[in-house]
């Protein structure tokens, strides 16, 4: 189905050996599971607590907002992990959970109040008994503050984080980013903060409790709008997917669909002039800066739009990149599987579902060369 040859797999990182610390993941959502997945890929020994009581099912998550996470995505999130089945009514299972806490070096929690209660006092006591443990807690708004208990889904997190304000058309309401991106951010923040503190814990025996707020991840992801407001009082708005301080930048129509035209920086503007055969634009004062090019974009459109209409997206992509311009294809998910670039990098690999069905999964987004084992590819 995938068309991937068996040998098309990316070399893994060499094993951590004695450095493979234990991670305990108790998470009802994508964020905690994504963190566990990243850590497992790097050689950490990740144990995932599986129980309806904590919202973590063998093939997904209980909370309704994760109902769109399909079985292949769940398989991806949970591979390379050990499962620890937990039942609050089973004393032996509770004992195994306590043992897992005692063995853990890094604990990643993403739980509601009820889910925490289901873990029992023995669990909390076992954690409290470990001053060397690094605990990362992922919640929508953080565990402290007046809104720490606010109800949330990712739509609300994205709204409260200031992201929705910027996506969509100016004359219409906001739209939200696809998928579970704020959760992915939370998972990455858990990795950054948790592993950094793990280094300290390993050296000194001093653990830490870290409180990751998904809403703050979203605000950090955008980063600039709040500083711009603090500096000049300017509030950003939706711009319909284009830039309102630069041109051309965004998705444009071409002969067979859509293509990304991005001319962001000074040197790129000169390259774009060369591509369009408009040497005169390089010295045209109406087009001197990105903002002037936006304000006078009709001048550019006179040349650009017919040029795009006469060419296909692959032709435009190739022509732009031949001029070192950051043009892009507007890929859908299936085009990604066909990407020669991703295949050459062995980004995709085959795996099997529990029923034997062959599936395609991605690698981590990096290729490593290590000093201990030399070049790996």
């Amino acid at each position: 189905m995938s068309g991937l040859a068996p040998e098309e797999t990316r070399s893994p990182l060499p094993a951590l050996g004695d450095g493979a610390r234990n991670v305990l993941e108790i998470a009802h959502g994508v964020g905690g599971a994504f963190a566990g997945m990243f850590l497992a890929s790097a050689g950490f020994a990740v144990t995932r607590v599986v129980s309806p009581a904590v919202g973590a099912q063998p093939d997904g998550f209980s909370p309704a907002e994760y109902g769109d996470v399909g079985p292949v995505a769940a398989r991806f999130l949970n591979e390379r992990k050990q499962a620890l089945r937990y039942d609050p009514a089973d004393a032996a299972a509770r004992g195994r959970l306590v043992q897992a806490v005692r063995a853990a070096d890094l604990l990643i929690e993403q739980l509601t109040l009820d889910e925490r209660s289901a873990l029992g006092d023995e669990y909390a006591e076992a954690v409290a008994d470990r001053p060397d443990l690094v605990v990362v807690t992922i919640t929508p708004f953080g565990t402290g503050g007046p809104q720490s208990g606010a109800a949330a889904t990712e739509l609300v997190i994205d709204a409260a984080g200031g992201w929705l304000q910027h996506i969509g058309d100016p004359e219409r309401g906001p739209i939200r980013p696809p998928g579970h991106q704020s959760e992915v951010m939370g998972g990455l923040a858990a990795v950054m903060s948790g592993v950094a503190s793990l280094i300290v814990a390993d050296r000194t025996g001093a653990g830490e409790a870290i409180d990751v707020a998904l809403r703050e991840c979203v605000t950090w992801f955008q980063m600039n709008p709040t500083t711009v407001y603090a500096y000049s009082g300017s509030v950003g708005h939706r711009t319909g997917g284009a830039s309102d301080v630069n041109y051309p930048q965004g998705v444009f129509e071409c002969a067979n669909g859509l293509v990304g035209i991005n001319v962001l920086y000074y040197v790129e503007w000169f390259r774009f002039c060369d591509l369009m055969g408009r040497e005169d634009w390089k010295t045209d004062p109406r087009l001197e800066t990105p903002l002037l090019r936006y304000e006078n974009r009709a001048l550019i459109d006179e040349e650009l739009l017919p040029w795009l209409a006469a060419r296909t997206a692959p032709e435009i992509y190739a022509a732009g990149q031949a001029h070192k311009l950051p043009f892009g294809m507007v890929n859908g998910p299936r085009e990604l599987l066909e990407s020669e670039q991703l295949r050459a990098r062995r980004f995709w690999r085959t795996a099997s579902m529990s029923d034997g069905t062959e599936i395609v999964l991605p690698e981590m987004p990096a290729v490593y060369t290590t000093t201990d084992q030399g070049a790996e590819r």
């Binding site: 995938s2 409290a128 109800a151 001093a206 707020a213 703050e216 711009v228 830039s243």
Partner: protein
Amino acid sequence: MTPTPATPNLQPSALAVGPLAGIRVVDLTMAWAGPMVTRVLAQLGADVVKIEAAGKMDRWRGGTFVQRGTERYPDHEPTDQPWNRNAYFNTQNVNKRSLVLDLKSPEGHEIVLDLVRQADVVTENFAFGAMRRLGLAYDQIAPLRTGLVMLSMPGFGSSGPERGYIAHGPTIEQLAGNAYLQGYTDGPPQASGRLAWGDPVAGMTGAALLIMALWRRHATGFGCHIDLAQLEAGVLFNFDSVLGAVNGGQVPPRRGTGHATLAPHGTYRCAGDDRYLALACRGAADWRAIREVVAADALQAADLESDDARHAAAELIDKEISEWARPRDAFEAARELQRRGVPASVVLNAADLLADEQLADRGYFLDVSHPQAGRHQYAGLPWQYASDPAWWREVRPAPCFGEHNGQVLAELGLPPARIAQLAADGVIADHPARQGD
């Protein structure tokens, strides 16, 4: 409600310094993705020396003359040194030091090699091939320092037929599928506008990979080169949508603000200028609360208890909620729904965020005084420590251009006369050549 976290009984001095204190970073990145990585390292205590060139300073300094309007400058005043007053640069580069160095000169090359000899980490986000031309590719510099960790962040990675292609954040968003998946239900793919989506995606991913590599170095003593392809990081951010589609499932439709299984799930116009309420219904309990608040006859009469029924009637429900929300204050509407346990929030803008009581209570924004930009609040990192260490709050401003030239070179053992000669020869500088961004 959010639970109090399970907390180990920590010693008060658990983190007297940042967890990465002692880590030295040679930072050759610019703009967003790379500097976001090194900002994380810097705020966790690493010593980050940011290297720019007089003729090619970090693009986020915004050039030597105004490029994209004045909103990025304090009080809309670029002054005669706009490169030290740009909001974008000053947000991204807190806690770093600045060295302006001509890497193409023999003297500059030797200096950067000396820095590498003392470094633990080198970061770069040049286009593929640039580091080798500078003599700074991993195989060229790894022998200088045992256990060196290096992060490279070319758009497409350092291998494959498109490795030489150029990409910025918007390119990555288009190529990785985010623009395709994002949009109104009745509309075409939509990019993220001013938000160069691919940049923070790669920045967050790169920071996580790099810190994991530092763990590996800590545990094994071995360094590594991380060849992070920004395109691949972008694909992972939408792993759920992509994996369904490439494994025989449907390509998810563009949903606007909708959700595959939940309804209602959207944004609703309220009173005021561009004010919207975001609201999500997770199930029957939320629905009953929403119905009580909205109190529309059409919603009372209909049998909408099940998720499937509400999904089928989403248009009717959205119409009724829209009519209810339109005259209301968005903040009051959100509070009313939250009081009943329904996920709801105003669609906040930058001004709202800076005034937000939750963010203020958590100390999310960093209060930083910059010598040329003044005192402002900057977005912090998205976590807090139970030990509330002082170093987490004590943040230095982003460096002015070449601010630490003398300091960094003196630490390498260069005497003042030699440093003065390097300045006279243009190998180091504290003023950029005229340039755009």
